[in-house]
Symmetry: C2
């Protein structure tokens, strides 16, 4: 059904508050969820439904476990992933503003960080190159295997520009975990080549895939990228990783980097050159049937613009009722 | 034919010297080419044959165009790409040793940098996380287009470990340019889905592909990664890039980063955790027909070990005669 944006935001905020978060946490989480939902990304309000994302009773004070001028390692203390990664992104930006480079890792969270393009976009909008890597528990198999070992291990890259920033956000799996969940809820089958069942047979059944493994995207190259993200969000930040043992379910990690382009070139030249590059790419000769060549981030921006212009957004009936239910809880 | 490794090295060195390089440059180039050739990578001695890689008469003194504690921008002054990137890698390592992070860009070269896993491997062997991005002239199309806009834009990542480092090196194109050239020289066709001819028709003919465009790997995600590499090796380092104009043929760029893992965690813990992770991945349940799950870099290491053990290497007859010819020139 068609839902007014204001109503969607209000209902989502209430659902977050009903999940146990304080007002400041709720604003942060709302911002991340709306970034996804209003851009047609599958990491939006669905996260609040079903088992949802109740605040962990174990959540303590977020603290800095290690810090240098250029870096920090943040103990998430079982707080919500979006809250912790927002904090880490802010720290990486501060360090980059002061010293041209900031790298901040997080550990000891075990909940989704949402669409990580959100954080990359924030860094890019402040004029820095942003790199985000996010770990999670095991869903994805290595190339040649059908055993779930890696998280969907997304990476996001934000590039500032004199025009709109480039914001690229991708799972290194053939499909995001929430995409599989969405297919299951909608009663749809998966495309071929996305997943294995628990015995290693190829499957298009999302329920079987959730019990089996998702493939990495792009064959061996995608699998290798997934392994690299596993290193950057596991061993490098002192979070769990495949092979470490049981705490893979409760101790996920993330890594944020912010790089000042002025380390290498003049800021204004860089920004205008990026804009020139994207313009050239957009003007490339298109294949038959292709209306427009899209820069990373642009598809979502288009959806967002249309939503904001109309003031309302299409939300699947079941999803909207499920969200309303959470928002109506006492 | 089977060629003794010593003879291969001697002949290659002579071919490099005959291409106009001094002794120090020749040792550097030999090292990079042998890294590829002895690992079964298609960026080895083939580069010396055909048009080869004569030293540019325009080559001047390599100079530092911009420098900070953490960064440098190196003017390659039309020197050979391997020589310039070796210098840049050394600088990034020095900065990372002194300040935990080093980022060095290069511009004003227009020749191949060879298998960039070489540089990532060097950084990893020194205990740092290495990231290498390499630009080149236009061969690869954006997703949705058939017009060559990007270089094959490889990226390489080196991760130190208590065991062997992880060294991942991939073109963001569906096939490396030298892979297409190799297929053409061997009279082979390309797999489906790799390339377009100049009119945008899918082609399996390597000659038509060289006049048309190579596709990015992995659909939209690979194309987006290729665009990101174009930014990092163009606008960010002040080298040419698609959309800048004519000097795309003579002014390629590269970017090197070296990151000290101690910015975030204890060195020994990091190294042993990476080893633990790779061991776990190698022990994953394999799909039918898969003998062994390989970590990035391992396939090449296996080939190298076998070559070193036997003391000789299989080289295609035509390639060997072509190399000998260059080495025999007065």
């Amino acid at each position: 059904m068609r839902v007014p944006v204001d109503e969607l935001k209000k209902t989502t905020l209430q659902a977050i508050l009903n999940s146990g978060y304080d007002a400041a946490e709720a604003e942060t989480i709302l911002d991340v969820l709306m970034y996804a939902q209003l851009r047609g990304n599958n990491q939006g309000i669905i996260k609040l439904t079903g088992a949802g994302m109740p605040k962990s009773p174990a959540a303590g004070e977020i603290r800095i476990a290690r810090e240098t001028k250029l870096s920090a390692r943040v103990d998430g203390a079982q707080n919500q992933g979006m809250v912790v990664l927002t904090r880490a992104t802010g720290m990486a930006l501060e360090k980059a503003k002061a010293h041209d480079f900031g790298i901040v890792g997080t550990f000891n969270t075990c909940t989704s960080t949402g669409a990580i393009g959100y954080y990359a976009s924030r860094i890019a909008r402040e004029g820095f190159i942003g790199l985000i890597f996010a770990g999670s528990t095991t869903y994805v198999s290595m190339y040649g295997s059908y055993e779930p070992l890696f998280g969907t291990n997304p990476l996001a890259i934000g590039i500032p520009s004199a025009e709109k920033p480039i914001v690229f956000d991708m799972a290194t799996s053939a499909m995001a975990w929430y995409g599989i969940l969405e297919a299951k809820l909608a009663g749809k089958t998966l495309p071929e080549g996305i997943a294995f069942d628990r015995d290693g047979n190829p499957t298009t059944d999302p329920a079987a895939a959730l019990e089996g493994a998702i493939r990495p995207f792009g064959g061996y190259k995608g699998a290798a990228l997934s392994l690299i993200v596993e290193v950057l969000t596991g061993p490098l930040v002192g979070a769990a990783f495949t092979g470490l043992g049981d705490d893979h379910k409760t101790n996920w990690g993330c890594l944020v980097m912010a790089i000042n382009p002025e380390l290498l070139v003049e800021r204004e030249t860089f920004l205008s050159d990026v804009a020139r590059l994207t313009e050239r790419v957009k003007s490339a000769k298109a294949l038959p049937g292709v209306d427009e060549i899209l820069i990373p981030g642009e598809r979502g921006d288009r959806i967002l613009e249309a939503v904001l212009q109309s003031g309302s957004i299409e939300v699947e009936d079941n999803l909207w009722s499920a969200l309303q239910e959470v928002a109506a809880r006492a």
